[in-house]
C-alpha cells in the first residue's frame, strides 16, 4: 500500500465502460487496460506468514532450521536500520512458525533496540512488550498478530515523519527475509506446488518502482543500489518461469535474496 498517506489514485482510462462480460458459464472477462475507474496505486505486501501457512499445508518444514541468529551491527544509518527492521520482523514470523519461544523473545528485544535507533521506541514498546508477554504464554497467534501490528505502526510513523522511503525499506527487508526462507524450504523439498509460491512478479515490480521514486540520496545508498540490481535479477527469473520454476531457478532466487540479506545484516 502507498505509505505516503496522500491522495493517490490513477485514472486508468475512460474511453470505454468496464469490460466485464460473460464469456462462458459463470465466467467474466476483465481488461485492465480498458478499466474506466480508478486504479488504487497501492500495494499491500503480504507478511511472510501468508506464504509460510501454505508451506505448512504442503508438508512439515523444519522451521527451527530456518531461524537465523540476529547479530545486527550498530549503525546510525536510517536506511540500513529500516531494512534491518523489516528483516527482524520477518525473522519473528519464522520464529513463530517454529514456535521457538527463546528466538521470539530475542527478536522482540531486537525490535526494541532497532526502534530506539530509529527514534520510534515510544510507538513500538507496547507491541514489543505484547510480543514478550505472549511468548511467555506460547500464544503464537497473538505473537504473529503483534509482529504485523509492529511493522504497521513503524511504517505509519515513518510516513507521518515524511519518511515514506524508509517505510518501503521496511517492506523490502521483510520481503527479502521471507523469500530467503521460502526458497530455502522449497530447495530442500522441491515440488512444483511449493515453487509456484515464488510467482510474485507484481510485488517485485512494486519494489523496483518504489525505489525509483525514492529521494536521490536513498536511491544511491549502497544497499539500495545492490537491492535494485538483485530485484531486477529476481524479476527476470520470475518472468521467465512461464512453465513453472525449476529447482535451479529457485536456488538462484534464494541466492540473490540471501546475499542481499547478509549484506543488510552485516551492514556492508
Amino acid at each position: 500500500m502507498c505509505r505516503l498517506g496522500a491522495a493517490f489514485a490513477l485514472l486508468a482510462g475512460c474511453q470505454t465502460s468496464l469490460h466485464a462480460e460473460g464469456s462462458s458459464a459463470g465466467v467474466q472477462e476483465f481488461d485492465p487496460q480498458a478499466f474506466p475507474g480508478y486504479v488504487v496505486d497501492d500495494v499491500v505486501v503480504p507478511v511472510p506468514s501468508e506464504v509460510f501457512s501454505v508451506l505448512d499445508k504442503l508438508g512439515e518444514p523444519n522451521w527451527r532450521q530456518e531461524i537465523r541468529k540476529l547479530e545486527m551491527p550498530s549503525t546510525g544509518d536510517r536506511t540500513l536500520l529500516a531494512l534491518m527492521f523489516g528483516t527482524v520482523v520477518a525473522e519473528g514470523f519464522v520464529a513463530v512458525q517454529a514456535e521457538d519461544r527463546q528466538s521470539v523473545q530475542d527478536i522482540g528485544r531486537e525490535v526494541i533496540n532497532l526502534s530506539k535507533n530509529l527514534g520510534l521506541s515510544k510507538s513500538v514498546l507496547p507491541h514489543a512488550q505484547a510480543i514478550l508477554d505472549a511468548a511467555d504464554r506460547d500464544d503464537w497467534s497473538s505473537i504473529r498478530k503483534e509482529f504485523d501490528r509492529t511493522q504497521k505502526t513503524v511504517q505509519d510513523q515513518m510516513e507521518k515523519m515524511k519518511d515514506a522511503d524508509l517505510s518501503q525499506c521496511v517492506s523490502l527487508g521483510g520481503w527479502l527475509r521471507g523469500t530467503t526462507t521460502v526458497t530455502s524450504i522449497i530447495t530442500k523439498s522441491f515440488s512444483a506446488d511449493r515453487a509456484e509460491l515464488l510467482n510474485q512478479p507484481m510485488l517485485v515490480e512494486h519494489f523496483i518502482a518504489a525505489i525509483s521514486k525514492m529521494p536521490e540520496g536513498t536511491r544511491k545508498h549502497g544497499q539500495i543500489v545492490k537491492i535494485l540490481a538483485g530485484l531486477r535479477d529476481v524479476l527476470a527469473r520470475m518472468e521467465s518461469a512461464v512453465d513453472g520454476f525449476s529447482h535451479e531457478s529457485v536456488e538462484k532466487i534464494g541466492g540473490v535474496c540471501g546475499s542481499l540479506l547478509t549484506e543488510i545484516r552485516t551492514g556492508k
Binding site: M1, C2, G5, A6, A7, F8, A9, L11, A12, C14, L18, A20, G26, V27, Q28, E29, F30, D31, P32, F35, P36, G37, Y38, V39, V40, D42, V43, V44, V45, P46, V47, S49, E50, V51, S53, V54, K57, L58, S141, R144, K145, D148, R149, Q151, K152, D156, D193, E196, L197, L198, N199, Q200, P201, M202, L203
Partner: protein
C-alpha cells in the same frame, strides 16, 4: 475526474464502536468508520480461523465509480476480503479476476444494512489478482470505503 482518494491506515476498532457509528449520519462518516465496518464483517471469519492483516486500503470515492486494486494471492490459502462503507444506503459490488482477466469463483455476502460486503476465494494459482469494486450511494455524491483482507 479529479476526486482525491485519501489512504490511511488505522488500528482496528471494536465491533461495538462500529455499531455505534452506524447511528451517526453520513455528514460525520470517515474512512476510519468504513474500516470499522470492514472489521465488523471480518469478525465471523476470525471465528473461523482467518488471520486479519493490519494493512488495508481505504479512501473516499465518487458514488458508483469503479476502483481497482491489484493483490498477490497464494494458492493453498483461503482469502477473505471485506469491503466496508461509512455511508448508509450504498450498493456494494466486489469481484476478483486472475492475471488473465478471468473472474474467480467466490462466495459473496452483503450485510442486511449494506454497510459491508465480504467475499471469500480460494485462488486457483499463486499470482497477481485484481479486485474491482464499487460503492453506489442512493443519496450521497461520494462515499468512504475501506477494503481489508485476511487468510487462513
Amino acid at each position: 475526474m479529479n476526486l482525491n482518494l485519501t489512504f490511511r491506515r488505522r488500528s482496528l476498532l471494536a465491533s461495538a464502536c462500529a455499531l455505534a457509528l452506524a447511528m451517526v449520519g453520513p455528514a460525520t462518516a470517515t474512512v476510519d468508520d468504513a474500516h470499522s465496518f470492514a472489521m465488523e464483517a471480518a469478525q465471523s471469519f476470525v471465528d473461523q480461523g482467518f488471520i486479519v492483516r493490519e494493512d488495508y486500503w481505504n479512501g473516499e470515492v465518487k458514488s458508483g465509480v469503479k476502483l481497482m486494486v491489484r493483490h498477490q494471492l497464494f494458492k493453498g490459502n483461503e482469502y477473505a476480503f471485506w469491503l466496508g462503507t461509512a455511508n448508509d444506503g450504498v450498493d456494494l459490488e466486489l469481484k476478483i479476476y486472475d492475471d488473465k482477466g478471468k473472474s474467480i469463483e467466490m462466495d459473496r455476502k452483503v450485510d442486511k444494512n449494506s454497510m459491508y460486503a465480504s467475499v471469500r476465494v480460494n485462488p486457483p494459482k499463486t499470482g497477481t489478482y485484481t479486485l474491482v469494486f464499487s460503492l453506489k450511494s442512493h443519496t450521497e455524491k461520494s462515499v468512504f470505503w475501506a477494503l481489508a483482507y485476511g487468510y487462513r
